[in-house]
Amino acid sequence: MKFGVVVFPGSNCDQDCVRVVRDVIRQPVAILWHQDTSLQGVEAIIIPGGFSYGDYLRTGAIAHLSPIMQAIKSFAEDGGLVLGICNGFQILLESGLLPGAMMRNTGLRFICRTVPLRVERVDTVWTNKCQKGQIIHLPIAHNEGRYIRDPQPHESLAEQVVFRYEGTNPNGSEEAIAGLMNRAGNVLGMMPHPERAAEDVLGNTDGRLIFESMLTAHANA
């Protein structure tokens, strides 16, 4: 399964994602520059964390207009797998591939710590290796992770919530949403960083569940 990791000016988790794909789940990976218009035949896209364009204007607001994002929108509309992590999630919200918006954490602090998450859906390409209701632990590292629903559609997001913060809600996110997918299920945005918890040497391999779920879904497709 060929992965593509997108790099914007200001991305800083791109190499972590490349390492997990190449060295942990051992799959081919292409690095895609924000000015590229070709996705080089990849079968899944990872939009990594960081501070694309310095978070100018709003997080993800400038990145979503880049040439690569136009290609990713078409890819997603055709059912391609797109995983946005942290700033990648914010970019997916700005691009309209996922509903809602992000605001400053209620505590006004940049939060960098490992938090418990409840896996709400296991019948997805992202979580088929998890157990229903399983609590996994992943690091979060963000200043703008307070998820705000789009008040317009008035449709329930319940079916789209993949991860919720368990116990304390660290950032004031609505309904404690930590990870959300689109209705079709092929686009996932999550604030926690699975790529930072995918190797024994890091003391936590819960993040591997997401990457291995993608592989399983791809193999069974």
């Binding site: 204007l57 700005e94 918006a101 605001m103 209620t106 006004l108 705000i148 789009d150 004031g172």
Partner: protein, 79 residues
């Protein structure tokens, strides 16, 4: 023309920066502050010379980029 764009948070959304600034004003002894809401102010110099057309152009900019309609409202003044 010069456009002035005011981006404000929609009512009802918790503005944590505004709340913090209000607390700081309270600390300084400004007792009459009921609420503070933070927003953005943007100045744009335009080649367009007609006020109506300039306003329309800037409103399109707000819709496409400058404001996020889920959380923000905008107001445009041209002169």
């Amino acid at each position: 023309m010069k456009a002035q764009v005011y981006i404000t948070l929609k009512d009802g959304l918790l503005d944590v920066q505004g709340k913090t600034v209000k607390s700081a004003l309270d600390e300084l002894g400004f007792k009459g502050v009921a609420q503070v809401r933070m927003g953005k102010y943007i100045e744009i110099d335009l080649a367009e010379a007609k006020p109506g057309a300039a306003r329309q152009e800037v409103e399109r900019m707000c819709q496409k980029l400058l404001a996020n309609p889920i959380i923000e409202a905008y107001r445009v003044e041209v002169k």
